[in-house]
């Protein structure tokens, strides 16, 4: 509300090849971006068809991901030489998310594809750290969603568990835990996505894997629930198992392309390398 008036032209630039080759420049100087968007007519006549295509956010998404991944990688292998300072792994999640959000805002893509960080209660209830959504044009309602849960290297996870004093659990976290039965966080997110349907994906984002600690990987699927029948439960080992064998690793852009071109109702499972 009250925000829509300034943005009618943004898609124009997201659309054109012109924009994609210069978008970094625009991103670093938002005022230029605005000036450009005041003169849409010149560009709109150059382009046909004039309607913006719904998937033009994909290269921008790719840009946001590379920014977030490389920023996160700077801290991924941090170790205090004196072995006294242990930043919480949560910091890595926050760095990734902050970088992604800042970048997506400066690229002006959030009308087409947005990112909603979960509240502490939602993180427990829904198992997700944030949710990405492809938005329907006029209503801005989500059309496709990707719920993301970050996984850290196991030694980091352990450090986190040991370092949180009980009083750090706020009341809302306690209530959420009470509500969420005894399922694992992995299962809660899969349940959440399943309750929505095949246009909601669960993405487990590995900030480092045991075999490759300095890169960022993901397993994405709208069909994890099929595995629940076969296995007892969804745990880390189960998710990591997807990387075994020589499966193809998608780029973030490739992942998004696969998602938006998929036939409605079809299952889709992919492995992605984000860095």
């Amino acid at each position: 509300m009250g925000q829509t008036t300034s943005k009618p032209n943004s898609n124009l630039f997201q659309n054109s090849n012109f924009f994609s080759s210069y978008k970094r420049g625009f991103a670093s100087s938002p005022s230029d971006d605005q000036n450009m968007s005041l003169r849409p007519s010149i560009f709109s006549t150059l382009r046909k068809p004039p309607v913006s295509k719904p998937n033009d956010f994909i290269p921008l998404f790719n840009d946001c991901i590379s920014a977030a991944s490389s920023r996160t990688q700077e801290y991924l292998l941090f170790k205090d030489p004196e072995d006294k300072f242990y930043p919480s792994p949560e910091v890595l999640t926050q760095v990734f998310l902050m970088t992604y959000i800042s970048q997506s805002v400066s690229l002006n893509m959030t009308d087409a594809f947005n990112c909603t960080a979960m509240t502490p209660g939602q993180r427990i209830l829904l198992g997700a750290d944030w949710v990405w959504a492809v938005l329907e044009k006029p209503t801005k309602n989500p059309r496709i969603q990707i719920a993301v849960q970050v996984l850290h290297l196991p030694d980091r996870e352990d450090a986190e568990e040991n370092s949180i004093p009980p009083e750090a659990f706020s009341e809302s976290v306690q209530i959420a835990q009470k509500e969420s039965s005894n399922k694992t966080m992995y299962e809660r997110m899969v349940d959440f996505c399943t309750s929505i349907g095949k246009d909601c994906y669960a993405l487990f984002l590995f900030l480092g894997r045991k075999s490759d600690k300095e890169n960022i990987y993901g397993v994405l699927s709208n069909n994890f629930e099929a595995a629940i029948g076969k296995c007892d439960k969804i745990d880390r080992a189960f998710i990591e198992n997807f990387f075994k064998g020589s499966r193809y690793l998608h780029t973030p852009q490739g992942m998004m392309q696969a998602i938006v071109t998929k036939k409605e109702g079809d299952p889709l499972t992919l492995m992605i390398k984000f860095s």
Binding site: Q3, T116, Q122, E171, S172, I175, A176, S180, D191, I196
Partner: protein, 241 residues
């Protein structure tokens, strides 16, 4: 999958509140205090429902944090806030669940209806469609919630008189037909927000003492009343509020 109605979709959801018995356990828990404030006499679980963008999240923000923002951030699935109110020397902790209105979230949101003791069913007085949907939301309540759950109908955004398309009378009439209480509210200008919650709490308290008076068997779980089926069991002491 999107039916939101049938048993099959209900069966899918695993992220459910615990059985309503859980609620009894949360009542009258005093002084356990590890972190959260467990010091209360009663715990009421309330839900806010209604079409997307009618102002549910804003309404809850206004009530719990006394804040308002004009930016629209569509709620993902479900969220909640906690607020403690006092009534006749009793501390009542309100667990207020904020739901997303879109159809795609229907399975997850209706899973939370079951343990709720009260609902705020909201429409937007500047949006005819949201008013037209009230009947459907009311049916959802009847389908998924406890029979004795109390409902207040709220016509929100009453600060936007110029854009009004639903008259006060039509709102009141519909509330009467459905047997709900009625307020016109504004999360933006803080009109009737507190009053709506207070009324709902009163209604729940009335219902509790009424049920206890008419049905002494409740605490033992005898199947004599509807209450015993899926109702949050009422504590023996009754609600003196």
């Amino acid at each position: 999958m999107r039916s939101g109605g049938g048993d099959s979709s209900q069966g899918q959801i695993q992220i459910e509140p615990r059985s309503s018995k859980q609620m009894a356990a949360t009542q009258d828990v005093k002084g356990k205090g590890e972190g959260g404030d467990q010091n209360f006499d009663y715990m009421f679980k309330l839900l806010i429902i209604g079409n997307s963008s009618v102002g549910k999240t804003s309404f809850l923000f206004r009530y719990a944090d006394d804040a308002f923002t004009s930016a629209f951030v569509s709620t993902v699935g479900i969220d909640f806030k906690v607020k403690t109110v006092y009534k006749n020397d009793k501390r009542i902790k309100l667990q207020i669940w904020d739901t997303a209105g879109q159809e795609r979230y229907r399975t997850i949101t209706t899973a939370y209806y079951r343990g709720a003791m009260g609902f705020i069913l909201m429409y937007d007085i500047t949006n005819e469609e949201s008013f037209g949907a009230v009947q459907d939301w009311s049916t959802q309540i009847k389908t998924y919630s406890w029979d004795n759950a109390q409902v207040v109908l709220a016509g929100n955004k009453c600060d936007m008189e110029e854009e009004r398309v639903v008259s006060v009378d039509n709102g009141r009439l519909l509330a009467e037909q459905l047997g709900f209480e009625f307020f016109e509210t504004s999360a933006k200008d803080n009109i009737n927000v507190k009053q709506t919650f207070e009324r709902l709490v009163d209604l729940i308290c009335d219902k509790m003492s009424e049920s206890l008076d008419s049905d002494p068997a409740v605490p033992t779980g005898a199947p004599t009343a509807k209450l015993t089926d899926s109702a949050p069991p009422l504590q023996q002491s009754g609600c003196n509020c």
